[in-house]
Amino acid sequence: MKIVKIDKKTWAAGIEKLTASYRLFGPVKEGDFHNFKELGSGEAPDLDCLNTRLSAKAIIYPQSENMFEYSLDESREDHHILKEVDTDYSPRAVIGIRPCDAKAFELVGLNFDTSEYKDPYWIKAREATTLIGLACSSPGSNCFCTTAGCGPFHEDGLDALVVDTGDHFLAKILTEKGEQLFAAAGWKQEAKAAGKQIEALKQEAEAKIASSVNTDNLSALDTTQLYNASFWEDVSFSCINCGTCTFVCPTCWCFDIQDETHGNSGVRMRNWDSCMYPLFTLHGTGHNPRGTKLHRVRQRFMHKLKYYVDKYDAGIQCVGCGRCVRSCPVNIDIRRVCELMNSFDSEKDTCAA
């Protein structure tokens, strides 16, 4: 693995060079918040951003994505035939993605890219994307990544990890995609001995993570007993069933498919769905197995912290970015719910089945 030193003076020029071969995305401040945006010429990612309001999820998996188009005009030979839409899968790169958001793509991949099922839109976009991470030297107070299978210098999902040392950047090149991007940017000054410095900064950053979750007991718990636990009424009471937690979450992947027809032509699209919504899993009969607020709230936490754990044996479906904690309008805190679940004792739970 190669480490490259980048003089901060050459950073902007390198980014500019990349625009010749990549569509670039990065965190940009808009109003009071940072969000990921496609960078225009001369526009630089804002590396001072603690983290973006929404995750980087939408760069690979947009909130609304057209999949097919069709015509209802019967004078056309191809009427009523779904045709794949032309989507731009040219190389793109995300500069300044945090390790939690990159790791989230790995978790989502377990669902969208399996030996059984392949989601072509997600896979093509993921393959087209190079992720250049920015290590977190000052994590936020609601970040709990180190106990959620991630960390401020975590490398999973990234093609390169950039570390700001103050004077300059050090970059660990992690994949061939990363190599290619660094070659295109002209950043090639090797810093062979810098590994130790990065390791020291990593430990310093990890020590700053003040928030945590315990997940050690989740897989051993009985699913039905946990499902019937009495604490769900308390957990779900304040929930207003908005989609904020699921939309800001980098690992929430549910979508809903819609056809939209205007006149004689239309598109088949998919839009982010949310387990908080009344239409989520509503059956054609009108029955909804998750018909109440309690059902929906429980679904969200059981999916992330129990079903996913059991199905993939790859930890929880959460990277500890803390967005849902910060954005929930009524302050439902996944750390608190995780603790209730992890420490659940069916013997002591009066209302458990």
Partner: protein
């Protein structure tokens, strides 16, 4: 307002103990600065978790609709007006409720305070009219009166309009408030500019529907945006569909909205959709002399017909 909590706990414990209510709806301490969580207490032990400070901006009337228990509810001026509206609209019965009124001096604007600091805010402490904001390497004292949510700055009904218990002496109502200066500015814009104003206003919307779901008025069994047979509104990020949602929702609140500010407070992307509801509130006042939720004995203007109702919009 901090001193209210002892009285709130005392009343709550008494009501639970003597069986007057099955549950108390209030707030418990949040896990992040400037946030408290709506919470129910069913035992005197639960009551210990209740808190009251300037971060109780969520409208608790939203938690009442269609409940069947006997409920003690902690109500600021705006919450109490929405309770009245709920009673008028048959969403809850007056007999079910014991209203614990809280004379309110306003809630602080967490979004504005967050935006004032570059570093992350780690603690916000409140003492009288002083709000102390601190983080890594900074501490700043702010006057609470300068930091209120806009709806609280403009509030002219701080005292509960209906209550069974009152946790403190009534507070003085704010006088000479011009509630609609910003609305008049938008009214005066030429149509094109108005359109682009609204396009900008809603450009960040992610359709999470937090504004709708935090609103006590939005209790339709199926919201028009969730109708699927037939579907009325597109589901994508098309700006026309986003605006359709916001405009129609606002119209559904006409003559009912109390400007409690919950919609704006809960918006994860900071949209001031109150611009729409306040325009309708202004119209309700100017056309019908109506302010929502002040009386249980008068039917709302859009609920009834009077021969003198204004009709010069019919051309």
């Amino acid at each position: 307002m901090l001193s209210y909590i002892d009285k709130i706990k005392e009343i709550s414990s008494r009501l639970l103990k003597d069986g007057t209510v099955d549950m108390i709806i209030g707030f418990r301490r949040g896990t992040v600065p400037m946030m408290n969580e709506p919470h129910f207490a069913k035992t005197t032990g639960d009551v210990e978790q209740l808190v009251w400070d300037s971060n109780c901006g969520i409208n608790l009337a939203n938690y009442l609709a269609n409940r069947t228990e006997k409920i003690g509810i902690i109500a600021k001026g705006c919450d109490s007006r929405n309770i009245v509206t709920h009673i008028i609209e048959n969403k809850i019965k007056r007999e079910q409720l014991t209203i614990i009124g809280v004379p309110c001096k306003g809630m602080i604007d967490k979004r504005r305070i967050n935006a004032m600091f570059d570093g992350e805010i780690l603690q916000v402490a409140e003492n009288g009219n002083t709000i102390t904001v601190s983080g890594d390497g900074f501490e700043k004292k702010l006057e609470k009166d300068d930091m209120l949510q806009q709806n609280c700055r403009l509030c002219i009904h701080r005292n509960p309009v209906i209550y069974d218990e009152l946790v403190a002496e009534q507070v003085e109502e704010q006088q000479d408030i011009d509630r609609y200066a910003d609305i008049r500015e938008i009214e005066a814009l030429p149509p094109k500019e108005k359109e682009s104003y609204f396009t900008d206003l809603f450009s960040a919307c992610i359709r999470c529907y937090a504004c709708r779901n935090a609103c006590p008025l939005c209790y339709c069994p199926t919201c028009f945006v969730d109708e699927s047979r037939p579907q009325w509104v597109g589901k994508s990020q098309d700006p026309a569909d986003i605006k359709t949602f916001h405009f129609l929702r606002a119209y559904h609140c006409a003559g009912r909205c109390t400007d409690c500010g919950s919609c704006e407070r809960v918006c994860p992307v900071g949209i001031n959709m109150r611009i729409l509801t306040r325009k309708l509130e202004k119209d309700s006042f100017e056309l019908f002399g109506w302010e929502a939720g002040l009386s249980m004995d008068v039917r709302p203007p859009l609920d009834t017909y009077k021969p003198g109702d204004p009709d010069d919009f019919i051309k």
